[in-house]
Amino acid sequence: MATYKLNHLQGLEAEAIHVMREVAAQFENPVLLFSGGKDSIVMTHLAMKAFYPASIPFPLLHIDTGHNFPETIVYRDRLVARTGAKLVIGHVQDSIDRGTAVEEKGYNASRNALQSVTLLESIAHGKYDAALGGGRRDEEKSRAKERFFSHRDEFGQWDPKNQRPELWDLYNGRKHQGEHFRVFPISNWTEMDVWQYILMEEIPMPSIYFTHRRLCFERSGALYSYSEFMNLRDSEKETLREMQVRFRTIGDMTCTGATVSNASTVVEIIEEIASSRVTERGSRQDDKRGEAAMEDRKKLGYF
């Protein structure tokens, strides 16, 4: 007799597809946030499955700091060509030029925090009423209580004390004028689930997730890719050398740390994560600024 069971990845997939279809059904003008990272690649894959054979019924929105890994942009443009999805780009540089965002100064300067300004401006400009994001609850403590459908007030802010209860798989996306929702279909996935799913679905990934040689330097115990966007202290310049690395998470170049790794396939990455001793956000500088750093940025409208 057949057994009617889903494995954990199929279960998570069914949940994520259900959430995406709810968004398409409940909102008038949703958008999918696309950063080029593995989570947003998986999200795009899920969206294709959710609406096949129709095309994805919402555009992809990329908030571009201008400090990208070139591989991310190549991958993004190919994905857009392959899927026929519509791509909208919000440039952090435009917010800086308008004076709504102010460039950070000093050695640790990063445009990472400025992305939230550009994101809110892009949402307002596109009149989007729901923004689908690839946030996962396991990434960071304050995300543990995030809802699938996360309500944002007219200033784009999240109020962790005043969230709507979310029961069964019934999602309440009702809202007043000017409010919007962030929606996180892969809330229940871990880094491991994401890679196992990439393996199961044979999703092509950008090359920088796999091992390669790269000029790196050390900063506060982490490794960073050398790039023209970062100011190096003299002591950091001394640590510059070619190394065999890969990235576990991909964001803005100025705050994405590299990991020493020989993993050249998805299977090897899974094995590496299984034996890994630090969380993926352990390699991101933005979260180290304080235990409650993420929570603060989220309240302000960060992804």
Partner: protein
Amino acid sequence: MTSVHQGYLNMELLRFITAGSVDDGKSTLIGRLLYDSKSIFADQMEAIELASFRKGEEHVNLALLTDGLRAEREQGITIDVAYRYFATPKRKFIIADTPGHIQYTRNMVTGASTANLAIVLVDARKGVVEQTKRHAYIASLLQIPHLVVCINKMDLVDFAEQTYQQVKHDFENFASKLAINDVHFVPICALEGDNVVNRSERMKWYGGSTLMHILENVHIGSDHNHIDARFPVQYVLRPMNTAHHDYRGYAGRVAGGIFRVGDKVAVLPSGFTTRVKGIHLGERELSEAFAPMSVALTLEDDIGISRGDMLVRVNNRPQTGQDIDLMVCWMDERPLQVGGRYVVRHTTSDVRCIILEVTYTMDINTLQRLEEGRSIGLNDIGRVRIRATGPLCFDSYRKNRATGSLIIIDEATNRTVGAGMIV
């Protein structure tokens, strides 16, 4: 792919909830599960070592691992529902960590709504108390299929078997009144890990399984209804491109039973019948789909179908009606208004409704029905009768958690104010 990698694709998903009164050791237990199953990373461990040291604690406080938002950290209590994740080679686990106090009943109900299993913590020194009964009641009300009673702090009662037997006896006595099918009892010491992941050397008299063994092996294959075929239509797919010019697919999540290609189905509420032509998951064609899969169905005949309609097997139909009896848990500061108008979301349909009456309220500490002064405020549970403006197609919650549940929304504030389980 090698067999090791096939192993990753053979894991099941188990969702569970933890309930206990403040200080029963819930956070310590979750920390222990994460720690002993090696789900904690070095940087997380360093962070809690540092935090424990700052607080002047003697041991590394595993409870700090599960501690949530800042305000709660400051108050030193957990509120709301926080989700945690860990995996063993057999299963991936999602923990809904909810507070135990009566003023957080709604949070526990929320966490319980999707759980396969509930862990109810009992302090061995205190035994079965009012809160234990409330937690067990909520687990049964929400029809969580499996329950594990963990008798914690066994170290403080000299690991005595008699204490364990007493708690077991008291619990069974009381639980016989509740609809709980599968109950396990495990004596543990969360602080030092006895019978959590590793067997206790100090309770050799206990012949049962460790908590982890139960979590990894409890049979969850029948937790979904695979008998009564129900498919609420969520979204209509109309590509209208050249390759799929005439395609019209009905996207949704199977809410019960199994659908096969060729099955004769009825569309509710219209009652038209047709056959399933194809089942699709992305580009793949399937021969069947079962709960809780998200798929798209195509049908032999072109019938007008939209979101909110339900496909069912012709000879197995749900109830249809406008007057519905529910058990409701209230979630909002503003009490339920008899005569008040609300919106009900049931599967994929939204309908307006009016609250006809409150039949009774539950004293959830004593489990007495109160028929006097029947008002339902925040965190209260009671039975109500509603009238919807249009017919709903539903099953009892006991028969099907997906087609038997609904949420109540206040149209003025848009807030989700109530959770309903159809009687």
